[in-house]
Every structure is written in C-alpha cells, then in structure tokens.
C-alpha cells in the first residue's frame, strides 16, 4: 500500500514536470530553437537530417526532434557541407506560419499529420548537457516530396505548374 502511494505521488509530481517540459519544447519549436544539418543524401523523395533539440528532459527533446525536423524542412531549411547539399525551406513566404495558423496548429499537434512524414533512421542519440538543459541530436528521414504535395493540396505553397 505504501509502495502504491509512493508511486502515485511520484507520478503526480512527474506528469506536470513532463508536461511543463513538453510545453517549453513546443514553444522552442515555434521560436525555431532547434538546429538542423544535412546528414547525407537520403533516398529519392526524402531528406536525411540530423536535428538537435533542447529540453530539461532528454526524452522530451528526443521526441520533439521529429516535430522540429518537419518544422525545419517547412520553414527553416538546413545547412550542408562536405558534399552534403544545403536545402531551402519548402515555404519561402515570410509570415506563412501565422497566415495559416489554424492549419499548422492541427498539423503539428501531438501525433498530428506531421508524424506521417518523419521517421527515425537510427535508434542512437547524441546527448549533450548544456547548462541545465539537454541538447539531443538524432538522425531522421523526412518525406519531403509527400510533405510538399500535402502543402500544395492545402494551398500553403504553389505547385511548379500551377497557374499554367
């Protein structure tokens, strides 16, 4: 009985702390507080990216990496070096995220549509302690062609042949 009570108390303390970290991670995503770099040439239709995210909880940062990768491919683009090609963001119009706020709110909700376009390519993570936070890096694959088609269908970006 004592054990159950201890566990329940721990859970009660842990859940808000985890939820708080999650909320902070979401804010970081919106504020572009993550880093993307080219991790190699992905198979056709995908980008292979190393994404670094920050959180007080390493697990939260790791999970947020997927969301950040998709967010970055859409709005930020990423750098490349040593033969690895840098890519521009899919959405180049400034303020597009605010303009289509409702769409992206639903798109980036937990396990929202963004989840369809990203997958982890390896299970290993790089974890660096930076002050009170963890900086977690993982390599993910983003299905950029499918993602672009979804954004075109939603009217966020124009297709190359649209209007002709």
């Amino acid at each position: 009985m004592k054990k159950i009570l201890t566990f329940a108390l721990a859970a009660l303390l842990f859940v808000p702390a985890f939820a708080g970290s999650k909320k902070k991670a979401e804010k970081d995503t919106q504020a572009f507080r993550y880093e993307l770099e080219c991790a190699g040439n992905g198979v056709q239709g995908t980008y292979l990216i190393r994404v670094w995210s920050y959180s007080r909880k390493a697990a939260v940062a790791a999970e947020q990496c997927k969301k950040n990768a998709v967010h970055g491919v859409i709005f930020k683009g990423y750098t490349g070096e040593n033969g690895c090609v840098a890519q521009r963001p899919l959405v180049s119009k400034p303020g597009a995220e605010m303009e289509h706020e409702e769409y992206f709110k639903s798109f980036f909700s937990d396990k929202g549509e963004y989840y369809k376009y990203v997958s982890l390519t390896e299970t290993s993570q790089e974890i660096v302690k930076v002050g009170k936070e963890y900086k977690v890096g993982v390599v993910v694959s983003v299905k950029k062609d499918e993602l672009r088609k979804a954004l075109e269908a939603a009217g966020i970006i124009r297709g190359l042949g649209s209007g002709f």
């Binding site: 033969g83 190359l160 209007g163």
Partner: protein, 313 residues
C-alpha cells in the same frame, strides 16, 4: 489602370491559364566542346562551331541518364519537360515531310527563312547541364552545374552547383544521379520564385521594332506625326500597355528600337491569356489605325521574343 486590372485578373482567376513556357534540358556548350560533340558550319566564310546534340545523345549514355532523371523529377513536381531527343527527331520528321509533300499541281509547302531559322531545338526556358569528373588517385569527385536561362531576355533564372563527396567506388552514373537528386529542390525553388514573379509582375519579354528599308511609304522610326516621332509614339504606347509601364530601351535609331525587360500582362482585359505575339499584335493594330495607317509584320521567335517590322507585310 488597364494593366492593374489585368494583373488582378491574373491573380484572381486562373480559370484561364497563362501560356505555359516550354522547358528543355540541353547539354551545355562547354560539356559538348570538352567531349568533342561539336559541328562546324560555314557562315559566310567564318567557321562557326555549335553543339551537335544529336550525336551527344546517341553516343553518351551518362547524358541520357542525367536528362531522363531531371525529366522524371520535374514530371513528379507537376511540370513535365520537353525531351530534347524527341524534339530533334520531330524536327527531322518535319523536314522530311516538307521535302516530300507536294500538292496535286506540284506545289510544295511554303517555308520562309524565318521558319527555317526557327526549325531548331529550342525552348522558352533552357536548362544547361554540365558535369565534370575529377580523379585524385583512387578518389573520384563529380562537379555538377544546372543552369536555367531565358533565351529571350538572356537572363539566368536558376542555377544549382555542387560537388559530390569524394568516392572510391561510385560510378559516374551513380554520382550524377545523386547530384541531380540532391540539387533539384534548390533549383526548383529558384524556378518557382521566377514563376511567382511572373504571376505578380507580368511576363518579362523582349520586343524588337524594325523598319523595312526603302518601304513604299517612306516611313522610318523618326517619321513625325504631329510633334512626336514614331519611336516616341511607340514608346508611349509601351508605357501605357506594359505592367506598371515597366520596360527598358537598349537601342534606338531610325531603323530599330529594342525594348528589353518588357513586362507584359499574363491576361488581357477579357481574361484571355496574352503572350508576346498577342501583345505585339495589339501594337500592330494600333499602328494600322488612323492617323498612322502603317502596315507591319509580326515575326515570332518564341513565347518571349517578337520582332515587329514596320512599313510592309
């Protein structure tokens, strides 16, 4: 006001589609020269070299692969390209047809010098492809350049340049395919920016105004109507009919005025698509009316370049 209305129509109603530019991938002249795919012809005593696309496509497998890959990726993006090999084949077929077809009375099909000049592989946007392989000991590196040019305005529209990671084992086709796949998105982003600008500010074209020498009317571009010379009247018409009056004049004499960077609306006031020929056709009708009464001939080089010759048909 009229042009503003046309732009509004362009922005709001894509029920009518703007005239689509044709795009085709060519091996660049540098690539052709380096591999010996050039042919020489005599231009009034001067030997002129030009790329022999036919032979390059027949003999170079890597070139075919690179072009096929780019075509495949562009089709996937919803913008299928013209295929150089097919265009060349079609030109040969048309030429054979021209030579063979005669009417019952023995007349052959008419072909002007302009038709002959236009009968070559060309597109509204030309993609020039170049690659080069560097070997350093056992390591191979591929440098790749893809450049989109507008042959009418001679402007660069987009370019992708990259060098692959050194490889010990990858073959040229593999390195080439990797380079195409890795660079095509950045290239298309620039192409998209060009199209966005076209929809926002109108199509950028070149218009050449010329005069038939010794024409029966004795008119040239310095002929005066009231207080204004003909070239001033045409310039005024251009200012009124281009998008926000945007164009440049790169030369002006009694026989020739060159208008470059001319922004023409994509749609007319009735919502119909406008290309350079249609735009210049409007100028032709303007000059045909009182008080000018000038006949003129419209010669179209493509979607983005037209020559208007005043004084005769």
């Amino acid at each position: 006001m009229t042009t503003a209305l046309c732009l509004l129509l362009a922005a709001g109603a894509f029920a009518q589609h703007a005239t689509k530019p044709t795009i085709m991938v060519f091996p660049s002249e540098t690539w052709c020269a380096k591999r010996g795919y050039m042919q020489t012809y005599d231009n009034q005593g001067t030997a002129v070299k030009q790329p022999d696309y036919q032979r390059a496509l027949q003999e170079d497998m890597d070139l075919k692969l690179a072009i096929a890959k780019i075509n495949n990726l562009m089709t996937d993006r919803g913008f299928p390209l013209q295929v150089l090999e097919e265009v060349l084949r079609n030109l040969q077929r048309e030429e054979a047809q021209m030579n063979m077809v005669t009417s019952k009375s023995g007349s052959s099909m008419g072909m002007s010098m302009m038709d002959r000049l236009n009968a070559q592989a060309k597109s509204d946007i030309q993609l020039d492809l170049t690659w080069d392989l560097t070997e350093q000991g056992p390591k191979r590196t591929l440098t790749y350049i893809l450049e989109a040019r507008d042959p009418y305005t001679q402007k660069s529209i987009a370019s992708a340049v990259g060098t692959s990671q050194p490889s010990f084992s990858a073959s040229v086709p593999v390195l080439l395919e990797e380079a195409v796949v890795a660079n095509i998105d950045n290239f298309n982003a620039q192409l998209q920016a060009y199209f966005d600008d076209l929809f926002q500010n109108g199509r950028e074209v070149s218009i050449d105004i010329r005069v038939f020498e010794d024409n029966a009317l004795g008119v040239d571009l310095e002929t005066e109507y009231g207080d204004y010379e003909l070239r001033e009247i045409i310039t005024k018409w251009m200012r009124k009919n281009t998008v926000e009056g945007r164009f440049s004049k790169s030369g002006s004499s009694e026989y020739n005025v060159k208008f470059t960077q001319v922004r023409i609306p994509l749609f007319d006031s009735e919502g119909d698509p406008v290309d350079t020929e249609a735009f210049v056709g409007k100028l032709r009708r303007f000059l045909k009316k009182e008080p000018y009464n000038l006949p003129s001939k419209v010669m179209t080089e493509g979607l983005g370049k037209v020559i208007l010759v005043i004084g005769d048909k």
